[in-house]
């Protein structure tokens, strides 16, 4: 019998805001702050009238960054409690019974405080349980509180055992049942229309009645499962499993519908090195081949299969409440769980007395029966229909890892680890009715297309410039590349000399397209260092003059028409001449960098490759010899100097960090330099 119990509490006085829609201070500073004032002048005097009027160069839109961090705050705390218990009992020599039960619970709490006098509202900051928090507060102040709490119970009963059936043939078996029950509840309350008392942050300060929203999500899955494994002479292993689940989230109201589903797996592995001649043992420690076939299933999320009305109160003045019927058509009785089938091949080897090891695997995971709200013509009275869409998507990937100890002596030891992986997702099935029709959604094509409204070009590839002197862009999408990276890699190295250790960890990404939001907005706001050009100076020197001439051609006569929404030309009678129309530099730049943080892909100039690498960590450690520790009561002790995020190289990103896949006014990664002292008692 064993038991575990743990409790953790974490409190963050101000998590800050992050991203464009949260109106991050990075955005205000980098994009809209003028270049001609010293931000430090606004540090300790960010109030003109305490709690009411802010001191800044701007009188609208952007906050003083110090004000923003101290008076527009995002406080969070988290409590986690979990306990588990397991006991087992040997029934006979071939059967053991065990029961396990676990209970987890958490409570997250978040508070947003927007001081009266803030030019920025809460934006979409997100607090526990509530990813969307447009609670306002610009000019008026606001307070919002979010709570998210939940618990889950996981209990199972297992019967296990193993036997040797005949010489060299062993079996291993398991049958069991489990119950998984989970309930999460979310709560959000916020002030409306501002705070009655500046500086008083409470729901009691709400000018209009405060809003309250709650949600409860409950679900349960009951399962029975079994596993049977054979092994022969320690070199051939076979395993089969089967599992049947009953999911509450498939239960339709007032229906006795099927809520259970079955999914199996098979695996085989083969230790080739056991069969090789004894002479290979001197250099080959292990060579193992493995292959598996696994099916997994995922039911619809809770409540999905049961349609309901939504309601909202006080929609126009306080006396009107509204109700809305479901926007999706339901045929839920026929909804199957989403199904994934994974096939994996792997090869593992250990060489030269375990000095070199590698593992190579290839997998393909095909998912079908996606539970999806497939769009229907809104003119039908509905927005979508809930179905298992007839699409199949397969993720195929390679993963390689390598471990080596290039040298090892009494004083020196160098260990190296490297990993490399690549994957891409492909269409394997297309739903004739519901898959969005475009030239890229075809069996065999990748799904992660980076689509863009590209420049309009003439047959020679010159940009077509409009009659206003600005570059023209297509009215249709073009595939510009893929969003998933070509590959991801990481290397770590540990060099040890006597009591000293030098550890280095590098990792990076190659390829994959994304938009830079930060740089696009720097251009649009005129704050980009490269936007200081002679043309811009001339525009400013003579207001109303236009001094920028884009390279390209203009349409002299003729038109183009398209036969579909993807740029297939129906007729094209355009005749081109060189561009002769000047525009202002500002109009030119705003047009070619016209990317919006509110959606859609950006312009070609704002489309970057994610390629980067980071020196994620470097550390130098001195392990204090045990003879110095005697009398201190410590068994081990070490002292380290650590640097994290020490160096970043990126192919395209100059002013922001592409780590994380997309870039949306993220605060820069903190470069951490410091030390650790570790004592083990």
């Amino acid at each position: 019998m064993s038991s575990n119990f743990s409790y953790a509490n974490q409190h963050t006085p101000n998590l800050g805001s992050n991203s464009y829609t949260a109106y991050d201070a990075m955005y205000s500073l980098l994009i809209w702050s003028a270049a001609d004032f010293n931000v430090l002048d606004y540090k300790n005097n960010y109030w003109l009238v305490p709690d009411q009027v802010q001191n800044f160069t701007y009188k609208g839109g952007s906050n003083n960054p110090y004000f923003d961090r101290y008076e527009r705050t995002n406080e969070t705390s988290r409590d986690i409690f979990n306990v588990d218990l397991s006991l087992s009992y040997q029934l006979t020599d071939w059967l053991k019974a065990s029961v396990r039960a676990g209970y987890d619970s958490y409570t997250d709490k978040g508070e947003l405080r927007i001081a009266v006098g803030s030019y920025q509202s809460s934006g979409n900051t997100g607090i526990p349980g509530n990813p969307y928090t447009w609670i306002g507060g610009g000019k008026t102040g606001a307070y919002g509180i979010g709570l998210s709490s939940g618990h889950s119970i996981n209990a199972d009963l297992l019967l296990t055992g193993d036997r040797t059936i005949i010489d060299k043939v062993k079996i291993d078996y398991l049958v069991g049942g489990s119950i998984y029950n989970k309930e999460d509840s979310n709560f959000l309350a916020n002030t409306n229309n501002g705070l009655t008392v500046p500086g008083f942050f409470s729901l009691a300060a709400s000018k209009d009645p405060a809003s309250v929203k709650t949600s409860v999500i409950g679900q349960q899955v009951n399962s029975i499962f079994g596993r049977l494994a054979f092994s022969y002479d320690n070199f051939l292993f076979l395993e089969a499993t089967g599992r049947n689940d009953w999911a509450s989230s498939l239960q339709i109201k007032n229906k006795n519908n099927k809520v259970d589903y079955f999914y199996p797996s098979l695996a085989v592995s083969f230790v080739v090195s056991e069969l090789l001649p004894e002479s290979t043992k001197s250099w080959l420690d292990l060579l193992k081949f493995r292959n598996s076939w696994t099916v997994s299933k995922k039911p619809a999320s809770p409540y999905t299969v049961n349609s309901s009305f939504s309601t909202s109160n006080a929609i126009w003045g306080s006396s009107f409440n509204a109700g809305y019927s479901p926007t999706a058509l339901y045929d839920a009785e026929n909804i199957l769980p989403e199904k994934s089938t994974t096939i994996e091949y792997g090869l593992q080897a250990m060489l030269f007395k375990n000095r070199i090891g590698f593992d190579v695997s290839y997998y393909q995971k095909e998912t079908v029966d996606f539970v999806k709200y497939a769009p229907v013509s809104q003119a039908s009275g509905y927005n979508s229909t809930l179905i298992n869409i007839g699409e199949g998507i397969e993720r195929r990937g390679w993963e390689i890892s390598l471990n080596a100890t290039p040298f090892k002596t009494k004083d020196w030891q160098w260990t190296l680890g490297a990993n490399w992986s690549t994957y891409a997702c492909y269409w394997t099935k297309i739903d004739d009715v519901y898959t969005t029709k475009n030239p890229w959604n075809k069996v065999g094509e990748r799904i992660d297309n980076f689509l863009i409204r590209d420049y309009q070009v003439d047959p020679e590839g010159n940009h077509i410039i409009g009659s206003n002197g600005k570059e023209l862009f297509n009215g249709f999408d073009t595939r510009y590349g893929y969003t998933d990276p070509d590959y991801i890699w990481g290397i770590n190295s540990n060099l040890k000399y006597k009591n000293f250790e030098l550890f280095i960890s590098l990792d990076g990404v190659k390829g994959g397209l994304t938009n830079t939001r930060t740089e696009s907005y720097m251009w649009q706001a005129g704050g980009h260092p490269d936007s200081v050009t002679p043309e811009r100076a001339l525009d400013v020197a003579t207001p109303g003059s236009t001094n920028w001439l884009s390279q390209g051609v203009q349409v002299v006569s003729g038109t183009v028409t398209y036969s579909d929404a993807f740029g297939t030309v129906l007729s094209d009678t355009r005749v081109y001449g060189p561009n002769t129309t000047y525009t202002t530099y500002s109009d030119y730049v705003k047009n070619v960098h016209n990317s919006s943080a509110w959606g859609g892909t950006g312009r070609p100039l704002d489309t970057y490759e994610k390629t980067f690498f980071k020196l994620r960590e470097i550390s130098l450690t001195y392990n204090i010899p045990s003879k110095f520790l005697q009398g201190w009561g410590a068994k081990e002790a070490s002292i380290s100097f650590v640097g994290q995020n020490v160096f970043l190289w990126a192919k395209d990103f100059k002013y922001s960090d592409p780590d994380g896949g997309s870039e949306d006014f993220a605060d820069p990664a903190v470069r951490y330099l410091g030390g650790n002292i570790k004592l083990t008692f």
């Binding site: 218990l85 509450s248 109201k253 028409t561």
Partner: protein
């Protein structure tokens, strides 16, 4: 020790037993209703249809650009052809709410009123969708529950004919109806809805004036004669902004920096100056440069609008130099009291005045003059009657009072009895155009397309119309989702109307 083990085992099974819950109960969302009342559905539909779609200063401003009421320092130019030139059939989704509303009211005293409301709303959606796009699904719209998720498109002529029938039928349901709940527009008064159903038929018929049949013109005259129509501003079909959260004027949260970028157009400002119309002082703040040059805020000449066909760069530098008037501070500082007008007594008066001038209704110019003057007076009275805090204090000392209204019809505002029919219609259309200043509803753009008046400034060198820079667009493209969700019917519609090209400059039937 053994006892403790037993206790733990018992506790364990208690936990399991406790978690064996009822699946049906577990999978019912406790925060979502399985049924609602008809008034709630009505309120939801009406709010969705008639409040500004996304009430914030930026989006609200864009709602005023297309008809050239406003010029914006950052947005002008491309907004005149609309950079997102797609229509939507989203409004038809509400047909399901309306169907439930009628079902849930069956047997109640308000059943007939809800039936009237359902038909009126369907007609409203159909009319606005067909005018903005062309042929649309109408006879087969809202039939997903019957298994039809790919409704066919009806021709614009057929849609209009059915819209008129539905308005007529709605009027009859309201005639038999009682007061109903959930009505944010008329507070459930069926007599007002009846007037609206009649007035809207006039608007629908006149909007297709180039194509209206003799029978439709006769029907127009009959409705005018029967005169169960909007009778004053109190019958206006409108949504009044309140000080309640989420129902404020959409421009209310605008910062001063934001306000300074919104400039009344030269078209509007010059029109108001021509008529010596004091609405100018309610609409605008004077041009800063003209005030510092010594002019007074109560002088018409202190207001200069921006020519909407100028390039963005030129508008920006002029505006930053303070050469333009800007939108009145009232819109950013007063959040309640202004109405969002959807159909007014004034507009109805101008519709009838035009019809009389066109000979659809008898009486001649003398009769038309009465309608013209009644319409103008009603609009002026609307400004005169705005809550004091929201209007007179912001009118730069030029508040509209009864004496001013009584003396309005002089000079260019005097109905041109001795002029041509065109002169008189221009007066009517100017006044009709002014109704929608800073309303954000875009409802009068089709009327400008129909009459070609007022003439919207256009300079091919600054036009951003991607398909033809000598034109302003005539329509919105069909929603892109139709290409994938209803491809056969979509293709048939663009083939039969627009030669296979779903373009914004293509001319729908009613404008041909």
């Amino acid at each position: 020790m053994k006892n403790i083990k037993h206790i733990i085992i018992v506790l364990f099974f208690l936990v399991i037993a406790n978690s064996c819950s009822n699946y049906e109960e577990l999978n019912t969302n406790p925060d979502a209703a399985t049924s609602v009342s008809p008034d709630m559905l009505a309120a939801g539909v009406l709010k969705g249809a008639f409040r500004f779609w996304n009430p914030n200063p930026n989006d609200f401003t864009t709602g005023n650009l297309q008809a050239h009421h406003l010029v914006n320092q950052d947005l002008s130019g491309e907004q005149y052809y609309n950079p997102y030139p797609y229509g939507s059939f989203g409004s038809f989704q509400n047909l399901t709410d309306l169907k439930r509303m009628v079902e849930f009211s069956e047997g109640s005293v308000s059943e007939s009123s809800y039936k009237g409301l359902a038909l009126f709303m369907k007609a409203w959606y159909g009319f606005n969708n067909t005018i903005s796009m062309g042929d649309i699904p109408y006879s087969e719209a809202g039939q997903a529950e019957e298994g039809n998720v790919t409704p066919k498109y009806d021709t614009q002529a057929d849609v209009i004919a059915q819209v008129l029938e539905d308005l007529k039928a709605a009027e009859q349901f309201f005639a038999a109806g009682t007061t109903f709940s959930g009505d944010i527009m008329y507070n459930g008064d069926p007599t007002k809805w009846r007037k609206l159903c009649n007035g809207m038929q006039l608007k629908v018929i006149q909007t297709i004036s180039k194509k209206a049949s003799a029978a439709q013109k006769t029907r127009f005259a009959e409705i005018v004669t029967a005169n169960n129509l909007l009778g004053s501003n109190s019958d206006n079909f409108k949504l009044t902004y309140t000080d309640y959260s989420g129902t404020n004027h959409p421009f209310y949260t605008a910062t001063e920096a934001r306000r300074l970028k919104d400039i009344p157009s030269k078209l509007v400002v010059d029109m108001l100056k021509k008529y010596n119309d004091r609405r100018l002082f309610y609409f605008a703040e004077p041009a800063a440069a003209l005030i510092s040059g010594g002019m007074q805020a109560n002088e018409f000449s202190a207001y200069e609008g921006a020519l909407s066909s100028l390039s963005n760069g030129v508008i920006t530098s002029n505006n930053q130099a303070g050469n333009y008037c800007t939108i009145n501070k009232r819109y950013g500082e007063v959040h309640a009291g202004d109405p969002m007008l959807k159909f007014t007594y004034a507009e109805q008066s101008f519709i009838i005045a035009e019809a009389i001038e066109e000979g659809w209704v008898s009486g001649g110019s003398a009769a038309a003059k009465v309608y013209y003057e009644n319409g103008v007076k009603a609009m002026l009275d609307l400004f005169k009657s705005l809550p004091a805090a929201s209007a007179a204090n912001y009118a730069h000392g030029m508040a509209i009072d009864q004496t001013y209204i009584d003396n309005y019809f002089t000079g260019d505002a005097d109905y041109a009895m001795t002029g041509t029919k065109t002169d008189r219609e221009h007066q009517i259309w100017d006044q009709r155009y002014l109704i929608d200043f800073f309303q954000g509803n875009g409802l009068n753009y089709p009327q400008i397309l129909r009459t070609g008046y007022p003439v919207l400034p256009l300079d091919p060198a600054t036009s951003l119309n991607p398909e033809d820079n000598t034109l302003y667009p005539k329509r919105l493209k069909y929603p892109t989702a139709e290409i994938t969700t209803n491809p056969g019917n979509y293709q048939a519609a663009i083939d039969s109307q627009y030669g296979g090209f779903d373009g914004i400059n293509k001319v729908p039937w009613y404008l041909q």
